[in-house]
Amino acid sequence: MSAAPRLGHASRWLSHLVLVIGCVGLAALPNRSAHAKPRAPTSDPFRRATAALLWPGATRSFFVSGSGVCSNGEWQTVFEPSHDGLPAHEAHAVACSDDDLPVLHWEMDNSPLTWYFEAVAVPGPDSILFASVAVRVINHGAYAVQADLRTTLAPLSSPAAFVAWDSDSASNLMWAGADSPIAHGWRESLAPDSGDTATWRLRPGHERTRRYLLPAYACPSERLIALSKTSHRAYVSRARSYWTNALAAGMQLSIGDRHTESAYRQALVVLLGCTQRHKGALIPIGNPFQYRDIWLRDGARCIAALAMAGQTSLARALATSFLRYQWPQGPFLSQRGQLDGTGQALWAFEQAFLRPSPDSSLATVTNAAVSAWRWMELQRTSTRILLGKMGGLLPYAEPRDGELPHGRGQLTGNDAWAIAGYRATARLLEGAGRAHEAIAVRQSLSNYQAEFARHLAESKSADVPPAWDRPAIDWGNASVAYPCGALSAADPRFIRLAERLWSDSPEPGLVRYGKGDSTHTYLAADLGMSAMLTGRIDDANRVIEALIRWRTASGGSPEIFDRATRDYGSNLPPHATAAAAIVTLIRNSLIYDDEDTLRLTMAARPQWWRRGRFERAPTRWGLLDVSFSLRHQRATWKWTAVSVPTILTAPPGYRIDHLNSPVASQIGPRQIVVPPGRKWFSAELERVY
C-alpha cells in the first residue's frame, strides 16, 4: 500500500507542516512517517474479514484473513504483529484497491502502532502464482515502543479454511535460503538469533516495512530469491496493469455512480479470477477455495455474465470447455443427477457465441446443442409413454444439491432450463443459418412451454412449485421466467412466488435458504431480473442493493450467510455465481438484448441520468455505444443504430409528457418504442414524485 495516495487533505497539510519544520530534522530520519494514518479500508459487513487473491487461469488462489493468515490451501503463512507483548487486533476488513483491482490491503490496530498490510498476486516466470506481501508498521503514538512481527510458515489449521484440490501434505516448511533447496516462502533476512520475529524500536512517527513472497506451490529457493530482486511496488504495478487491461477489454461503464461501478468492476474481477487452465482448456470454477470445480449451473451463469460484459473471447473459451460434459446420448451433466445441466450448457453456448455476432466456430456448439435437444425430446416422449399424467416433462432427478439435498423428484427447474435450452438451440441454428432445423426446434419449444403451463395449471401450488411431484426447496423455480422463459415474468403465479420468497427473507431483496436466518445471495437474482422486465423496478433495485451490500470489502459475495450472525461459515466468498448475478443485473438495467427488441435504461437509477454512458456493450446486434441524460425534464438517448426496434425507458419518478419525434410510439407511462436504425431520441418528461 502506498501511503501517499491514501493521505487525506488534512493529512497532507500536516505532512507539509512537518516538512516545513525541517529544522527538527525528522524528515532526514530513515523510514520517517508523516504521522498520518492511511485511510482505513472499506468496512466489511461480515463478522470475519477475508479475501481472495486470484489470477485468471491459475490452479490455486490465496486466502487472506484479517487475522493475519495467508493460505494457499496447502500451508499458511501466519503474521503475528505485536508491540511489547501486546498482540495486534484483527483487521475489520481486507479490501481491494480504490480502483477495484485485487491489490489487497488491511490494517491491524496495535495502538499506538498500526500494521498496514498490502498483498498482490502475480504469476512468476514459470506461471506459478505467488503473493507479494508488504507489511508496514507506523508508530502513531507519542512514545517509543518495541514493534515485533513474528511470521511463520505453518501447516493448515484444523479445520482448515480451505484445502487446495492438489495439495500434498506440507511438511518441513522452509523459508528461502542457503540451507533450503525447496522453499515455501521468502522473507527479508532477519537479525541473527531473532527466530521468526523481526523487531524494531520505533520512535513516534517512525515506520518500518518488511517484504514477503509467498508461492502457491513449494518451489526452488533460488527462484524465490530471484523474484525478491523485484520490488513489491513493481509487482503491484504489474498486477495493476494486467487487471486494468483485462477490465478494459469489455464493456466500459460510466454512470456517475461509484458505488455501482465498483460493484460491477469487482464482480468482474471475481469472474475473471474464477477460471482455471486445465489440460489446455480454460474452465470456469465456482469458487477459488472450497468449490474449485465446475458445476454447469454455476459455470453457465459466469459465461453468460462475461458475454454480457463484453469479455467475449473469454466467455467463448469457457463455453467451449462445456463440450467435455456432453454424454454420448446427448445431454450435458457435470454432477450426478443434476439434469438442469443440459439446458444450462445450451444457454451458455447461445449467450457466448451469438454476441456481438455469431462466432465462426458456431457449428461445433450448434451440433452439440442439436444432439442435446434430440435427447431432451426423447426424454419427454418417453415420459409421455411411461408416466401418463406426469408425462411430457423430464424424468425424476436426484441432484444432491440445493433444490433437493435428499431423494428424487421431478423438478420444475429442470424443465425450465430445458426450455431455455430449446430456445438456445433454435437461436444457435438461426445464427448458423440452419433455418429449417430452427423451425422444428421452435415448434417443439412451443409445445414444451404449453406442456409446462398445463402442468402448472394442474399443480396444487398457488405459485410455481420447486418440484412437480413432491415438496422440495425453492431453487430452479426462481429461474422459470428469467432466464429460462418457461413462464412470463408477468405471470401471476411467478409474481406470487417472488412475493412468497421475499416476504420470508431475513434480508430485503434476498431470499431465505434453509433454516434460521440463513440467507442466499444469488438465488434472488433471477427474481430481481424478472421484476425488472415487468417494470417492478423497486423490487429489482432491492435485489441489486442487497447483493452489493452483502459483499466483503474486496467485493466477494458469499453464496449463503447467516443474517443474524453475519457469518458465512466455511462457505467462503467469493462465489462466482453471485458475481455473475451482480454483473448481469447492472448490465441489464442499462441494456437488455435477450428478446427481439433492444431495451435501454430499463432500470437506470436517477443518479445515472446525470451523465450515463457505456461503450462497447455487446448485443445480438453488434457492439453498441450508448449515452443517456436528463436535463430540464428532457430525456435524451444516443446509441449505435440497430436493426431492431428499441424500447427506451424514462427514469423512475417521471412519466413521458410528449415525444419529440413522430417516428416513435409511447407504449407505457415511461416507455417509448422507436423504430430500427435510429441513433438518438429525446422526450419531454413530467415529474410524478
Binding site: L156, P159, W327, P328, L333, L339, L387
Partner: protein, 182 residues
C-alpha cells in the same frame, strides 16, 4: 444407488474372468509377478479398489497391443475400472472430496467407460454377454442420473437375453422409480 452396488458386480465379474483359479480360494498375497497377464494384475488392483492404478495397467496393455486387449473381457474390465475411478474419493487434510477434483475429468472417465462397453459389445455376439454389457451400461447411466436411458439399456439387455436376471431387476427398479404402471 451406492458406489458399491455399481462396482461390486462388475468387479466380481472381472475377478472371475481374469484371475487364476487359485486366487479364488482367497490367496490375497499374490503380487504382480504371480499374475501371468496384465489384465490379471489390473483385475487384482480393481478388486483392491486401486482404480487409478488399474487404469494405467489397462492403458499400458492397450498401448502394447496385448493379445488380451482384443477381448470383450478386457474392455469390460477396463470400463468397470474407469467408471469406478470416477467415484474415487480422497481425504485432503481431513476434508473428503473426489480424487478427480475437476468434474470434467470424472465425466471423461465415465464417457470413456461407455466407449469401452461399446467396443466390448462389438467383440461378442453371445446373448448373455451382450446383455451383461448392456446392464453394465444401464447401471452407469442409472447411477449418474439418467433413469430413462438406463431403462432403455435394461430393456435392450432383455432383448439380447430374455431371462437375464440383472436386466429384469434393473428394468423393474426403473419402472418403480419412474412410477410407471407398465
Amino acid at each position: 444407488m451406492t458406489r458399491l452396488t455399481l462396482v461390486a458386480p462388475a468387479i466380481f465379474l472381472c475377478l472371475c474372468i481374469f484371475l487364476p483359479h487359485e486366487l479364488h480360494a482367497g490367496d490375497s498375497h499374490k503380487n504382480e509377478a504371480s499374475d501371468s497377464t496384465r489384465p490379471q494384475f489390473a483385475a487384482r488392483l480393481l478388486s483392491d479398489g486401486k482404480y487409478s492404478q488399474a487404469i494405467r495397467i489397462f492403458e499400458a496393455a492397450l498401448a502394447d497391443s496385448d493379445p488380451e486387449a482384443k477381448s470383450w473381457e478386457f474392455h469390460c474390465g477396463y470400463a468397470t475400472c474407469l467408471s469406478a475411478a470416477a467415484f474415487e474419493s480422497t481425504n485432503r487434510f481431513g476434508v473428503a472430496g473426489p480424487q478427480q477434483s475437476i468434474s470434467s475429468e470424472r465425466i471423461d472417465l465415465v464417457r470413456q467407460a461407455i466407449r469401452e462397453l461399446d467396443i466390448a459389445e462389438g467383440l461378442t455376439s453371445a446373448g448373455p454377454i451382450v446383455a451383461m454389457l448392456r446392464v453394465q451400461r444401464g447401471t452407469i447411466l442409472e447411477t449418474w442420473g439418467f433413469p430413462l436411458d438406463a431403462y432403455g439399456c435394461y430393456r435392450s439387455a432383455l432383448g439380447a437375453a430374455p431371462f437375464d436376471g440383472d436386466a429384469s431387476a434393473g428394468l423393474a427398479r426403473m419402472r418403480a422409480l419412474l412410477g410407471s404402471s407398465e
